[in-house]
Every structure is written in structure tokens, then in C-alpha cells.
Symmetry: C2
Subunit: 107 residues, 2 copies
DNA sequence: ACACATTATCGTAATATTGCAATATTATAT
DNA sequence: ATATAATATTGCAATATTACGATAATGTGT
């Protein structure tokens, strides 16, 4: 065994876990933060900033992108990523609803 | 190599990743939800409820406990876990602060 | 102290994630 | 069309996570 048994859990719980996974690595946390700080963002800049190889950064960007958190456009020669605020807010809502629900019967 | 390079990131970003990791597995999401629903919680009940082995549930509980989210007491013969609301709220705040910060320059 | 029930830990196997070098792809500008 | 720069993908190695059976440890009640 060893693989996650995602099929035994509810849709909502799997969704929460999926969202949390995006933020479960400091590199991705840092990348998202960096993108949010720059008006137009370029991958090579991130490589310099974060201190991981271009390949690794690109991989992390894919994870973030697959979660639907990024919109990308080419601006001149370079790729400009920006954070999809709608998706980010949705993520925040999902997490907060879970946090609030989980507060019942706490101590 | 393959191991996470946590040393190259900021303290705050590592903290966020650590918190998110707790919720990054559906079993842990489900366990926390279950504990919050029951007034007094017993591990064996969780095993029946979630559908994973006792050893696996115990492992997940350790992860949640190590994050500081659980308080445990013995009630009669059985261990009663409850969610530490203070810690949970702290986690929620950390995540929300990050969400809010990350909304700058989004699109 | 002893039996019983519950929870934790150990050992092991399978899968997933992380990271990088090398290579391929893509887009822009000339 | 070609050269150039930026980004994505591939292949591989190392580490981490997930899961479970077996066993150990812990606490309760008699």
C-alpha cells in the first residue's frame, strides 16, 4: 500500500486537502507571495529570488497553475503570471468554512 | 536531490507550509471534522468512521497533535481528543493573513 | 498484580514529492 | 526563416508520505 486512499473520503474533504496541498510547500508559498508583490512577474526572476533551479520553479508553477490559481499571458518576450483573485478567494472561503465548522465542540 | 530545501525560505513561509500540510491529506481533514462533531472522541470510533487501519489513524493523529491542534485527556477507559480552538484560530489567522497579502496585484 | 481494551510504535512496502541537469519547446524580434 | 531568450518537459536520484500488520505500551477496573 502506501498511496493515499482518496476514494474513501468525501468530495469536500478531498477538495480541502487538494487546496491545502498547494500551500503545503514553502517554495509555492514564496512563489505566490512573490507574484503578488510584482506587478508583472517573470519566471527567471523567481528563480533568482527563491534560490531553486529553473526546472524546479517551473514544476512548482505547474502545481499552482493546475490548481487554477494562475493566469498567464505573454507580455513581450516574457511570461507574465498573475494570481486569479476569484480562485484565491474561493480557496480562502473553502478553508474558512472548514475552519469555522471545525470550531464546534473544540476546547 | 529530492528533499525539501526548507532552509532557503522565510520563517513565515515555512510556518504557512507547515500549517497547510496538516490539512493537505483528506484523512486528516476528515479526522478533524469528525472530532469536532463528537463531544467526546475515541480513536477506535474514528477507525470505523474513516475506513483506515488503527495504525494509520494513530499516525495521522500524531501529525495533527504535533501541529498542536489537539488536546487529549483520558475519560474512563478511552482517550478523548478535542480540538484546541486557540491553535485552530491561530492557524486560520495565519492562512487568512497570507490570503489577504496574496490578493495584491492579482487579476 | 492481572486481564482487558485502547492507543502508540516499529518494520516494511508502495507511492508521492522534491530537486536538478539536460533537453525540448515556445514566443519574440530581427 | 533564424537566432535568441524564456519557459516547459524529461529522466533520474533522493527523500517524504501513506498505509498496514504485528507488537509494544498504556491506562482502567477488578
Amino acid at each position: 500500500m502506501g498511496a493515499s486512499k482518496i476514494n474513501i473520503h468525501t468530495k469536500n474533504h478531498n477538495k480541502i486537502a487538494k487546496i491545502a496541498k498547494v500551500f503545503a510547500h514553502p517554495a509555492r508559498v514564496a512563489i505566490l507571495y512573490y507574484i503578488s508583490k510584482k506587478e508583472s512577474c517573470i519566471c527567471n526572476d523567481i528563480v533568482d529570488e527563491i534560490g531553486l533551479s529553473q526546472a524546479t520553479i517551473s514544476q512548482h508553477l505547474q502545481v499552482i497553475k493546475n490548481a487554477g490559481l494562475l493566469k498567464g499571458q505573454f507580455k513581450g518576450k516574457r511570461l507574465c503570471y498573475c494570481i486569479d483573485i476569484k480562485k484565491l478567494n474561493e480557496f480562502q472561503d473553502v478553508m474558512n468554512r472548514y475552519f469555522i465548522k471545525t470550531q464546534v465542540n473544540s476546547c
